[in-house]
């Protein structure tokens, strides 16, 4: 190996190191922009006591964008009000027992299944449990099958 090619290989190694450092630095910079704290409404929240909710009509909790569905005297479920198409808030229509999305016309039945429109998935159902203080607790982290109900003993 002559002196010149020796030098050039060092230069190349140096350049490679700089590139690596640059890429690592960029990755770190991207990480900087990832939100680490959130002031959004918590994903697990208390919805209120069972008596707050009428039987038959889903009740919208506006802050959390969630419907509490009491479709049996003692059975409670929680249904996402966020349209799975592009995130508009769906609205309940008691007349024909459907959820309508105002944005691009998606329609869901009372079980959250897509009947019409561009929505790709049915509405999400979240786990409902009973908190110690007697309130319903909804956890949006936990998506559950739509026939899973919380049965409240009276």
């Amino acid at each position: 190996m002559n002196r010149r090619s020796f030098f050039f290989s060092w230069a190349k190694a140096g350049a490679a190191a700089l590139w690596t450092a640059g890429i690592a630095g960029t990755a770190a910079a991207v990480k900087f922009f990832q939100p680490m704290v959130s002031y959004e409404p918590p994903l697990s929240f208390k919805a209120g006591v069972p008596e707050d909710f009428p039987v038959g009509t889903p009740t919208l909790l506006p802050e959390e964008n969630t419907f509490i569905v009491r479709d049996r005297e003692r059975g409670f479920r929680a249904c996402s009000a966020v349209c799975t198409h592009l995130g508009c808030t769906v609205r309940w229509s008691s007349g024909d027992q459907r959820f309508y999305c105002p944005c691009h016309g998606s329609v869901y039945d009372a079980e959250g299944k897509v009947i019409d429109g561009p929505a790709p998935r049915p509405l999400d159902w979240y786990e409902v449990t009973m908190a110690k203080d007697g309130q319903l607790q909804v956890d949006k982290h936990r998506v559950v099958p739509r026939d899973k109900r919380l049965i409240v003993e009276s």
Binding site: Q34, Y39, L86, G87, C88, T89, V90, P102, P118
Partner: protein, 425 residues
């Protein structure tokens, strides 16, 4: 007296513009003007060639910066204050409504004008060698213009703003792999709230305008480096084969000593360089002197008039039409129908058929197509009459966009159903 004269001279630094040398010095000695060549070809300033659309894009950008900075004196980017500050601007601040109107209509106008400018560059084949890179810079500027408008749309924090951005960012979230994470980083969370507002504010007021300014500088510099504007296709023959015996234009280089004394040689050299540039080999060779004019006054007057017309129209628009401000943003109540900003309504219209194809694949293909046009279409033919196919396709795609935007804007009613615009809801 001598003091005043010295001050004036130190500012002016040139001979009278009645003289050839003064005309050259005016351009060459000015940081702001020397982006121009000392001389220009008259045909480049023919109204029916460029329609001054690039200039008007730039003037609108300047107007937007000026009005935008003014609005920043009142606007606070938090959900607690933003909407109230807009109301204050509307009803309390002197000229507040006017300034806001001008900023809003200027943003809309800029999108339209930039697109028309792109269309003119395509139509006249001006993206061809050696101008491919400047076309690509132009595509970046188009995207920046759209992003500027989109980020600004959220700031008033009314229902229009909130739902347009909710829907708009949800479209982007369909991008495979990058989408959901990208939306979270852009919004600083999962929903449009305080974190999103400050992020959009910083992008809208600092990051994107800075990038746009830098790219505009690059865009202008490339025009010079590519040998000035492309010659109008109708003039091509004259440009390509100078009649035998004609020389590239050159004006006698004024070498008379400058009255100021020491600065002489530097300034004479600069002027000489400017002259050389006119006859630079890369620049099109002009057949006849009569087609060439000094930038002062020929180009500057025309640019100035274009600016005044742009500004006047913006003033009229801001006086007669008020920028919308709906109710305070309410995440629980989606207005029906809920629409993205108009320039994305074409995309929203496609999205109502399929979110992935309409919202991600089609726009991405369109941008990629724009980027590769100058590298695929390498035929050395610029006259529109000889590029009929390309022009047909480009026009049809542009028109399809316009049609979708018109449908989305006027023909979509409650529940995104097709309605007649004159049918009252």
């Amino acid at each position: 007296m001598k003091l005043l004269r010295d001050i004036w001279r130190s500012y002016r630094r040139r001979d009278s513009v009645a003289t050839t040398k003064g005309k050259l010095q005016l351009v060459v000695h000015s940081l702001w003007l020397h982006i121009h060549p000392a001389k220009v070809h008259r045909s480049h300033f023919r109204l029916t060639y460029t329609w001054y659309l690039g200039f008007v894009s730039f003037y609108l950008f300047l107007i937007l910066v000026a009005t935008g900075v003014a609005l920043m004196f009142y606007y606070r980017p938090t959900t607690a204050f933003a909407y109230q500050d807009m109301k204050d601007l509307e009803f309390a601040v002197f000229l507040g409504k006017f300034t806001r109107n001008m900023h809003r209509w200027g943003a809309h106008a800029m999108i339209i004008v930039v697109v028309l400018h792109m269309y003119r560059v395509y139509f006249t084949g001006s993206y061809k060698k050696p101008r491919q890179l400047n076309w690509v810079i132009g595509v970046a500027l188009l995207l920046l213009t759209l992003l500027l408008s989109f980020t600004g749309y959220l700031l008033p924090w009314d229902q229009l703003a909130f739902w347009a951005i909710t829907v708009g960012t949800a479209i982007g979230a369909y991008t495979p792999w990058l989408g959901p994470k990208g939306r979270e980083i852009l919004l600083g969370g999962h929903t449009v709230g305080d974190a999103a507002l400050i992020r959009f504010y910083v992008l809208h007021c600092v990051a994107l305008p800075t990038l746009t300014t830098l790219l505009i500088m690059l865009h202008f510099w490339r025009i010079r480096k590519d040998g000035g504007l492309s010659p109008p296709p109708s003039n091509l023959r004259e440009f390509e084969s100078p009649a035998p015996g004609t020389r590239p234009v050159a004006v006698a280089i004024p070498v008379a000593p400058h009255p100021g004394g020491t600065a002489t040689s530097a300034s004479a050299r600069a002027v000489a360089v400017a002259l050389e540039e006119v006859s630079e080999a890369r620049a099109p060779r002009y057949a006849e002197d009569k087609d060439i004019a000094f930038s002062y006054p020929f180009a500057f007057y025309r640019e100035g008039i274009a600016f005044l017309i742009t500004f006047a129209l913006m003033i009229v628009a801001a006086m007669y039409w008020n920028a919308p401000l709906e109710e305070l943003a309410n995440p629980a109540k989606t207005p029906n129908p809920s629409k993205a900003p108009w320039y994305f309504l074409g995309v929203q219209e496609l999205v109502s058929y399929s979110a992935l194809i309409g919202g991600v694949v089609a726009p991405a293909l369109m941008v990629i197509a724009l980027l590769v046009i100058p590298y695929l279409d390498t035929r050395d033919v610029r006259a529109p009459s000889k590029r009929k196919w390309g022009i047909w396709i480009f026009t049809l795609v542009t028109l399809a966009n316009v049609v979708f935007i018109v449908i989305g804007t006027f023909f979509r009613g409650e529940g995104w159903k097709l309605v007649w615009p004159w049918a009252s809801p």
